[in-house]
């Protein structure tokens, strides 16, 4: 259960079960060894298997591009791969690409970092103090069921059309994903580990820093990964609705002029950037949580 709960959050809140993730049982002893909430992680194999996987990955990508190319040459209204590359080069030369990417990345990173930075202490407070949990939980459970984008109309009215509303909805998306996961991590810290620290003479403060924080790190990182995905999705949608610059805006403009090549460039860039950010977090995760026992 500990492994699957953070994963649930990725697919958005399950309707009708808003309390499921956060109000999970304080599962006791089995969490220590089984605390491996890294979802979708590629299993680590021996080098030959890894090489094979990479070769297969590459083949799959090449085949995909080939199918795309064939389709675009056979009556589908797709631009061909060279056309898209050409468009990308052109947009790059104009400086538009750089401008859009920087604008989008700036928004997503600001919102994501602020959201995670707020979520971690709040999640810890909720896990550690019943009072904090009682106060925060109804709001978090409520807003969790609302897609952050649904708040955009309200946010636009209240905050104007500058950067603030976009960063705010991204912040919200990242915050909600991360706070639940952090909270989950704190409440599922193995009681035995806390007792072990106590009998070695540790007091509450020490237990928090030396046991609770490291034990919940895997959960926090999963929350951050989910949060990042959620932030990225929210960003692009927010830019489609209200922006003067950014990848989403560029695609929206291109749509008006039936400029499919630009749309393709946008889609591919969004995917690649999202993937790169996710891999970076994954790298951090494997560095920070390599101590976990895998079954």
């Amino acid at each position: 259960m500990t492994a699957s709960t953070p994963r649930l959050a990725r697919n958005g809140p399950p309707p009708g079960a808003p309390a499921a993730a956060a109000a999970g049982p304080r599962s006791g002893r089995d969490t220590g060894a089984a605390g491996q909430p890294g979802p979708g992680r590629p299993t680590r194999r021996r080098p030959p298997a890894r090489t094979l996987l990479l070769v297969l990955n590459a083949c799959s990508i090449v085949a995909g591009v080939a199918i795309w190319w064939i389709l675009s040459l056979n009556g589908f209204q797709f631009p061909t791969p060279p056309e898209v590359v050409e468009k990308a080069v052109q947009l790059g030369r104009d400086g538009l690409l750089r401008q859009d990417v920087l604008a989008s990345l700036g928004r997503v990173l600001t919102g994501f970092l602020l959201g995670s930075a707020a979520a971690i202490p709040v999640g810890f407070l909720m896990g550690w103090y019943t009072v904090a949990r009682g106060l925060f939980e109804p709001w978090i459970q409520f807003f969790r069921t609302i897609p952050p984008l649904a708040l955009l109309p309200l946010v636009l009215v209240l905050m104007g059309i500058g950067e603030l509303p976009k960063v705010f909805v991204i912040f919200l998306a990242a915050f909600l994903a991360c706070v639940i996961s952090t909270y989950q991590g704190v409440v599922s810290v193995d009681r035995t580990l806390i007792n072990a620290a106590r009998v070695l003479g540790a007091k509450d403060g020490t237990i928090f820093v030396r046991v609770v924080v490291p034990a919940s790190t895997p959960f926090i990182l999963v929350g951050m990964r989910v949060g990042l995905g959620s932030a990225w999705a929210t960003l692009v949608a927010a830019e489609l609705l209200a922006a003067q610059v950014g990848l989403g805006y560029r695609m929206q403009q291109a749509q008006l002029y039936y400029d499919l090549a630009t749309i393709f460039v946008g889609i591919i860039l969004i995917g690649v950037l999202g993937l790169v950010m996710d891999r970076l977090l994954l790298l951090a995760e494997s560095r920070l949580t390599g101590w976990q026992e895998r079954r």
Binding site: R198, V199, G201, T206, A215, W291, Q292
Partner: protein, 272 residues
């Protein structure tokens, strides 16, 4: 049978003194009596094992002494003082090892020393000593996930010893290990104990283990959790394989076995 319970001796003479300790838990709307007026004295440097069927409250008794649980009534004294919360004077070894999985063996062993505020050099030296004592020097920088169950438990033992507790409370420490590893660790534990004298309360459900290790075996019974029998083990230390195979060992083992597996139910438990 409660007549075999030793009457509370003057607290000053005993290292550990449990006096009329009761503990009840609410369980499905009813009160579950985990411990019913349990009294037990353990002398300094004594090795006492506690055996009994599940639900007899042996772990609860240990948790009370460790300061992890409070008795509902009665007193638990260590060195003549009431137990008030856990403390480094009482080392605890858990069945599930409870090593910090993000720390190496060395860092695990150093944990209690760090909490106590020892300087780094001294910490390292002490940790080194106890890691060698349990034979994990090759694995000092390994993470717990690299260790087998037996090695994990040895690491946990080193960690408990490092803070120099005068009492070791062990809750079925070898319960999860295979029979072979268990015998090895039993012998190692006795060897360590004979070198670094401690008062030990060792909980187990294994009658052989209970007799092999102890000066005294305490047999508990369930519903309500209470002390059923106390068996003095007069066997000499060091306990070798010869001791394990001796007729005297077999006799004691049979005695304890009978106490554990043929318990007469508590007819007048409420009346006492």
């Amino acid at each position: 049978m409660t007549t075999t319970t030793p009457t509370p001796a003057p607290a000053a003479t005993a290292k550990i003194s449990v006096q009329e300790v009761s503990k009840t838990f609410p369980l499905r709307g009813e009160d579950f009596v985990a411990l019913d007026r349990v009294s037990l004295d353990i002398a300094d440097n004594e090795f006492v094992t506690v055996v009994g069927p599940s639900g007899c409250g042996k772990s609860t008794l240990m948790n009370v002494l460790a300061g992890l649980e409070e008795p509902t009534s009665g007193r638990a004294l260590v060195d003549g003082k009431d137990v008030a919360g856990p403390g480094p004077d009482r080392g605890v070894i858990f069945q599930q090892y409870a090593l910090f999985p993000w720390l190496t063996v060395r860092k695990n062993v150093e944990f209690g020393l760090k909490v106590a505020g020892l300087p780094a050099a001294e910490r390292r030296e002490r940790a080194e000593h106890f890691i060698r004592l349990v034979g994990l020097d090759q694995f000092a920088d390994a993470l717990p996930k690299m260790l087998s169950g037996g090695m994990k438990q040895r690491c946990a033992i080193a960690r408990a010893y490092a803070v120099d507790p005068s009492i070791l409370l062990m809750d079925e420490p070898f319960g999860a290990l295979d029979a072979l590893t268990r015998v090895t660790l039993q012998e190692q534990l006795l060897e360590t104990w004979s070198r670094e004298k401690r008062t030990v309360m060792f909980i187990t459900h294994d009658v052989d283990e209970a007799v092999f290790l102890a000066n005294r075996v305490v047999v508990m019974a369930a519903r309500p959790g209470r002390i059923y029998d106390v068996v003095d083990v007069g066997l000499p230390y060091p306990r070798t394989e010869e001791v394990r195979l001796s007729p005297e060992f077999a006799r004691l083992r049979n005695r304890v076995w009978h106490s554990v597996y043929h318990q007469t139910p508590a007819l007048n438990a409420q009346e006492g």
